[in-house]
């Protein structure tokens, strides 16, 4: 019986996460090892199979490598359904909390694949990162206003931004910041994808992944009732607020794009009248980007304490607040653009937007990139034959 006792001790250690499974031996990979440990338990249970894509993807594997952990972690939408349904959730000694384990690996994904790599560390103190970026952006533009005009307040300028900041200055600064964000995130996505080797992208798989990303399919709980927030009740609120945020953001982006076309193609520089495409898109999008983040923040503050990674709450909330601030300052600027506060509001808005752009690759926004990649991998993978031929239980 001696060997059995030793085995039991080993099993208890394994079940409570004290040892690292044979698949992952590199030091400092505790988050990935924890996902592997929990997936080994889940794979023997499988009760949660219909909630989302994570569990069907899991059943195609017997072992969970580091790459698998990153893939599954980014496939997880942190809806919470599997936690509330889990017979092995704390206080059970197996201590299964899949949404938390996945969230912890996601932060590893973001920082591991960040470009440049050294800046991956910004994910660890993300609240501070965003706060500093915002303060820096604000300071920069306020100083610029003072330098260019000598005063923050002025006689009304009929909403003419370019009287404060020359058009080329704004294009250069924001073009560079946005371009860099896109580049950094693209490099991260490519690095992530290289570690995954899911097979060739086909049109149906790409279309399916796009649909799931745009519809937030996996926030519906698998039954359509939605995901969990404060308790085991399902609600569609998070999905709806996220839609308002995301599509609000897109409309704001479209507003800027249309304005750029007006400027260069039609030779019509800003300001645009209230009844014009750029202003209408920006207004509608801005309202979405007010209600959405406000709702998400409200839900986030009420989330069940076991949901997600407590270490990332500041990252989540800072990003939400920054989005809200972007919209709020934009709408305030629109409302008061004909007054003597325009330059001040413009500086505040541009400082906020610059902070948002600069921190896109080093904050919560990264989830959009890696989750889309994981959804694409799942869409490819699920079309391939399952290599495992497990017997029935």
């Amino acid at each position: 019986m001696q060997s059995l006792e030793a085995l039991t001790r080993e099993a208890v250690a394994l079940a409570s996460g004290q040892t690292i499974t044979a698949d992952i031996s590199a030091p400092g990979r505790a988050a990935e090892a924890e996902v592997a440990r929990q997936m080994q338990i889940c794979n023997a249970c499988r009760y949660c199979e219909s909630f989302c894509a994570v569990f069907p993807a899991m059943t195609r594997r017997l072992h969970f490598s580091e790459a698998d952990a990153h893939y599954l972690a980014n496939l997880c939408h942190n809806c919470g359904a599997c936690l509330h349904a889990c017979q092995y959730a704390p206080p059970h000694e197996f201590a299964v909390n899949v949404p938390r384990a996945m969230a912890q690996v996601r932060r590893e994904t973001y920082s591991d694949y960040a470009f440049p790599r050294a800046l991956g560390a910004l994910y660890r103190r993300n609240g501070l990162t965003l706060a500093l970026a915002t303060a820096g952006g604000l300071a920069l533009f306020l100083v610029l206003v003072l330098a260019l005009r000598g005063t923050l307040l002025h006689e009304p300028l009929a909403g003419n931004f370019y009287a404060v900041f020359p058009h080329n200055l704004m294009v250069t600064m924001f073009g560079a910041a946005f371009g860099f964000a896109v580049l950094a995130l693209a490099i991260g996505a490519v690095r992530f994808w290289r570690g995954q080797s899911p097979g060739p992208v086909t049109a149906p798989s790409a279309a399916e992944a796009t649909r799931h990303a745009l519809a937030l399919t996996y926030l519906d709980g698998g039954h359509g009732d939605g995901c969990n927030e404060a308790d085991d009740r399902s609600t569609l609120l998070r999905r709806r607020f996220h839609h308002l945020t995301f599509y609000g953001f897109l409309l704001c982006f479209a507003s800027t794009s249309v304005a750029t076309l007006y400027h260069y193609l039609l030779g019509q520089p800003a300001p645009y009248p209230v009844i014009s495409l750029p202003v209408l898109l920006g207004t509608v999008g801005g309202i979405g980007l007010l209600i959405g983040p406000a709702g998400l923040l409200w839900l986030n503050l009420r989330r069940h304490p076991l949901h997600g990674d407590p270490g990332q709450r500041t990252m989540d909330r800072a990003f939400i607040v920054l989005l809200f601030a972007t919209s709020l300052t934009g709408l305030a600027l629109l409302a008061l653009r004909d007054t003597g506060f325009m330059a001040l509001l413009l500086a505040v808005h541009l400082g906020t937007v610059l902070a948002l752009f600069l921190t896109l690759p080093y904050g919560k926004f990264a989830h959009a990139v890696y989750r889309s990649a994981a959804l694409l991998k799942w869409a490819i993978e699920r079309r391939q034959p399952d290599r495992l031929q497990l017997g029935s239980d």
Binding site: L4, A44, L62, H84, Q87, D232, L388, G391, S392
Partner: protein, 467 residues
């Protein structure tokens, strides 16, 4: 005073509470466990066996009443009550609409459970998601729920329920539903029930409990002492062979090891003791708990080679691994000589045809006792793996005798206001054996009947009768 008192907090108790509340009764539900451990064994369940005459949402094909009944007859060896069994079967065909109304969601049969896709409706997220939905619905409807409220005895008067005592507090109600589970968590009771074997061992000391630690059988014992009619044999239970490293309680589904039919099982002495390939694993897993319980030390060792990897559901704990069979024997603490002789005899007896673990294939042994009838392939491809297995009790069948109205009997006379549901009466339908999901079918059917009857009894009960 409440109309209906429900004692227990699992599936049957919740079904009773919801039905009683829907019938207009005021309901108090007492759950012995703290909130985070609520619902006893129901949190570990995953489906219910359902009769249906045509495909229904998550159920394919048809599973008519007669087939369900024959299945039940077969697994129980006739130790069942046909009237009650058919009541359960019929109820299983209509209960799911009601379950959905209370927030329960269903999913197609899980990967690795294709054999159940016709007969069993799986709860999305499993049993804990189901009870979460029921508790939410119960709270919405105004059922009062109290946790940490174990009931130690009932006050009865001439076979009528008067009050329950929960940690010294006397709680009256007009009627009562008992749905507090079996006695499987009570290791002392299991010890007495199984007694001492011819080797001088107390077999039950080596049993693991697959489910809750809260089913201590306190009320069952109280009812026995107060003269309630009892049914069943205390050693009969849903009992499977599970990983010996499983926790003492609440190991649930993941501790099963589904590799038995792909290898050999030996006992502590390194000897085989039963045909591992008799039938498909889903049809045989439920007998291995008892088989292992009858071996010395109540332990068995499942041994496979690398050919089996990837052909069975992944177990929660990794197997003990070795590059040679003698090394494996040493690692498992088995007598190497005897073990090697068993393995060599087995390997030599294998007549390998075309191996296919998805059908009853033609790989079998010749001239070996006991034989292995299917999937017999020599165990010769390293690395080798071994899993120590122990009997794992899911729930016991000893319970209160009841009828189609879920009434508790005293000396052959039914109580007017005391009802029973779930594991506390499952033995009426399941004298022995088991077939997947039937426990939840019984719990749901009798929980609903008991709740309805209790509400009716409470309306009949004159106010002063309990004063």
């Amino acid at each position: 005073m409440h109309d209906v008192l429900v004692i227990g907090g699992g599936n049957a108790a919740l079904c009773a509470a919801l039905m009683a509340r829907e019938a207009g009764a005021s309901v108090l539900l007492l759950e012995a466990s703290p909130r985070e451990w609520r619902s006893g064994n129901s949190q570990h369940t995953r489906n219910l066996r359902c009769m249906h005459d045509a495909p229904q949402d998550v159920l394919v094909g048809a599973y008519p009443e007669e087939e369900f009944w024959q299945d039940l007859l077969k697994v129980t060896g006739g130790q069942t009550d046909e009237q009650l069994a058919r009541l359960v079967i019929r109820a299983s065909s209509t209960c799911r609409l009601w379950m959905r109304r209370h927030g329960v969601r269903f999913q197609p049969s899980l990967s690795g459970t294709l054999h159940l896709s016709r007969t069993n409706a799986f709860f999305m997220g499993g049993g804990k998601a189901l009870v979460n939905a029921y508790y939410r619905s119960a709270e919405n409807l105004g059922v009062q729920v109290r946790y940490d409220a174990p009931v130690d005895r009932l006050e009865l008067r001439d076979g009528r329920f008067v009050a329950a005592f929960a940690q010294g507090e006397r709680i009256e109600a007009r009627s009562c539903v008992l749905a507090a589970g079996g006695f499987e968590s009570n290791r002392e009771w299991l010890r007495q029930a199984w007694g001492q074997n011819e080797r001088g061992e107390w077999p039950a000391d080596n049993f693991l409990i697959r489910g809750t630690r809260f089913n201590q059988g306190v009320l069952l014992k109280d009812m026995m002492e107060q003269g309630a009619d009892i049914i069943g044999d205390p050693t009969q239970a849903h009992c499977v062979a599970i990983d010996a490293r499983a926790p003492l309680y609440d190991g649930g589904i993941v501790t099963r090891v589904d590799a038995v039919s792909l290898g050999v099982m030996v006992n502590r002495d390194g000897l085989r003791f039963y045909d591992e390939g008799e039938d498909f694993w889903p049809k045989r897993y439920a007998i291995w708990g008892r088989l292992v319980a009858l071996q010395a030390g109540q332990i068995g060792y499942c041994v496979i080679d690398s050919k089996a990897i990837g052909k069975f559901m992944p177990p929660v704990f990794p197997g003990v691994q070795a590059d040679t069979l003698p090394e494996l024997a040493r690692a498992l603490g088995l007598p190497a000589d005897r073990f090697m002789q068993t393995l060599n005899d087995y390997n030599a007896a294998c007549r390998v045809g075309s191996f296919d673990h998805t059908v009853l294939d033609d790989c079998h042994t010749e001239g070996l006792a006991p034989p292995k009838s299917h999937w017999a392939r020599p165990i010769d491809q390293p690395p080798f793996y071994g899993y120590a297995l122990r009997p794992g009790i899911t729930f016991t069948y000893l319970g209160l005798k009841t009828d189609a109205q879920a009434r508790v009997y005293f000396g052959g006379v039914p109580s007017a206001n005391l009802f029973v549901a779930g594991e506390m009466m499952a033995g009426n339908v399941l004298g022995k054996g088991y077939t997947a999901g039937v426990g939840m079918s019984i719990g749901t059917a009798f929980g609903r009947i008991a709740g309805t009857q209790a509400a009716r009894a409470a309306h009949r009960e004159p106010e002063h009768a309990v004063a």
